[in-house]
Symmetry: none
Subunit: 216 residues, 4 copies
DNA sequence: CATGAATGAGTTTTCATTCAT
DNA sequence: CATGAATGAAAACTCATTCAT
């Protein structure tokens, strides 16, 4: 009687609402500064229910990380077709990455900022996904090297370092693009593609990475 | 094990001890999770003394950020001579950067991870230094473009994006190098130099950035 | 000895218990010296519950002042009938006042001693009620003057001063009566009535205020 | 060299400076809220010196109370000549009282507000002086009764109550006079004299206490 | 299921007080 | 004497977490 009472909802739905709220709060306040009270209120449920479904603050945070990591990972994987050439695959992956992070800033904050700042326990969760992406890039580079008839005398560590650098550059650009109004995912991807594929040296010589003509 | 209970030290010395301890704890636990108790204990002093000298947790954290930012900025500036060519300057700067972050992992964690995660107030402290570095790199790229007789049809935003990407790559590599035992600052710098200057494309073609012959 | 550990009480009840405890502690120790720990313990609840219901020490103190001020004000108002002559109204009011302060010595201490000693913020709370009483007395004196066919050449300031003096005397007598065992509210009221209405001079001449014959 | 350094001063002088500072701070902040740091700073000495001379915060406060109580008591005693009639003595005493409290508001605050709010320990200090004054007034009333050929069928308790009321009225008027600009000690004394000596009843009948013609 | 009532354990912060120089 | 260095003890306040209904 009175205010509209949200109906009984199936558990799965309720859980997603809680995770939505939690990602928002965790992403903005950080793990420690986020309060379960605030999360429960934003989710529109009572606190005990949060505990019933998600056990503890730690578990809740872990669940957030996992969900967001999976979502980002899926978005990138979905954006890339395995039968295309290496630079096209990188280009596609980057665009998917920048598009997803721009659309889910809180989720991205959870992964990029918050999860890494609170002990190995949480960092490990992200690392899993990050390594998946780094591995993806690493394979890309290796494949490209093979395609270019380069034998793998690029030492493994060297390649890993390159992949790290590329992913790091992408992360920085994502933050920069989010903070610089009027920057599209496509522009961010193009900038990074130029940087990564052609290199500053080539850019200086007027030989940028050939802009993608293969699509829309 | 550790420092002997040395009593009655001049204020300046004690303050540095406190900052050392604080950087360590803040760097590992994050701002919120760090407790003043733990910091005081690690510094070997009582909590009231910490407050007497540094006023509050917030001020203490700010002092940490400022000290570490200055130290890193100084290290990089000291490592670079203004009269050398652009790629040499970048190479020198990167080596100084990786050397410093490797030697002060906790300080680097404070700047790179923690400060950015806890409110604009703290982030602004770091942003100042970061922008100093980004500006340095931006100038470098512009100079290189000029040296290569490229007119500045590299749009300003494009250059800014490239600098962001480069700095981001450096930051990621610093973290990776810290976490990957046996990686030297020199190797990290070389990897990034190759990546940034020659580009993946060139690397694939067997045209890496010419390894630095100009120094020791 | 005291209340049994009764658990799970409705909020309104718990709040009164907390205010009871707070008035007792504040009244005896003063605002600053009172500790929330002690108040919570005396109330038989945990500190967090006190904060949950009453927000802060400041708010708790303010709530105490307001409750006690209202109670005293109500007691006096209830004791006085507006259609009786002035001296009878004063007599009734004084008896109600002394009776109430005797029955609630801690509440009276909060109002009379503690609230006025700790910042304008709190003093203002009491001042409202005190001025209500002073105004009541001021009106009484003015009415009495009119009834005695005195034109109001009693300057306003003079009347205000008299009212202040009367209220001050009442306050002092209340404290004295509380501290002097065996003194009834009736006796205190009679003493003050004599003092105020007849004056020392008359008393000396053997002309006291005619003892109240009009009531029980 | 540099700032003027206050010379070595004899202990007695230094102590008075400390008490001056302490009375000011205690009078304004209250016992608990006053900090030894602030007092030492206002006194222009180092904290350890305060402890050397006055032992503890408690002792310092007690010393303040004692000094101010003595000063007030002396002021009143000095203002009254024993060979004059009772009403004249009361009038003189009241003027001295109001003049002193107006000139030493912080000292008066210490006695009237602060000392009574922090446990029997301190209250007892003031009570001593207060009882001295009440005794003085009590004697006055008794003498006046004798002079008026009244046998002492004014019960002792009755007289004590009257004295309490008179002193209370004086205290309230002192506070009121301090807070009401343009009110002189003389006016306050006259108001109280009217109230106390003639009584409201007489005032109503147009028979105020005869204004003092005997002096300046 | 859903919720109001309740708390143990910990946080930052302050202050009176004491030595060693 | 005078002072900078130093601290034990406690205070206000918060939060994740759990029951009883």
């Amino acid at each position: 009687m009175g205010a509209v009472k949200t109906k009984r909802m199936p558990r799965a739905v309720r859980e997603q609402q809680m995770l939505d709220a939690a990602v928002r709060i965790f992403g903005r306040r950080g793990y420690m500064a986020a309060s379960m009270d605030e999360i429960a209120e934003l989710a529109g449920v009572s606190k005990p229910l949060v505990y019933l479904y998600l056990n503890s603050k730690e578990d809740l945070f872990t669940a957030c990380i996992r969900r967001e990591a999976r979502a980002l990972s899926d978005a990138v994987r979905t954006g890339v077709r395995g039968d295309l050439p290496a630079d096209r695959r990188l280009w596609d992956g980057l665009r998917a990455f920048f598009a997803h992070t721009a659309e889910h800033p809180d989720g991205w904050a959870v992964l990029h900022l918050q999860a890494r700042t609170h002990g190995e326990l949480f960092a490990a969760e992200v690392t899993a996904m990050r390594e998946e992406i780094v591995a993806f890039v690493t394979r890309l580079i290796a494949v490209a090297a093979r395609e270019a008839h380069r034998d793998p005398d690029l030492a493994e560590r060297e390649v890993a370092g390159l992949a790290e650098a590329l992913v790091g550059a992408a992360e920085a650009l994502a933050a920069w693009a989010n903070a610089t109004p009027g920057t599209t995912a496509r522009q961010a991807a193009a900038t990074l593609m130029n940087f990564a594929w052609a290199g500053l040296g080539n850019l200086m010589q007027g030989r940028p990475w050939s802009p993608p003509r293969f699509e829309d």
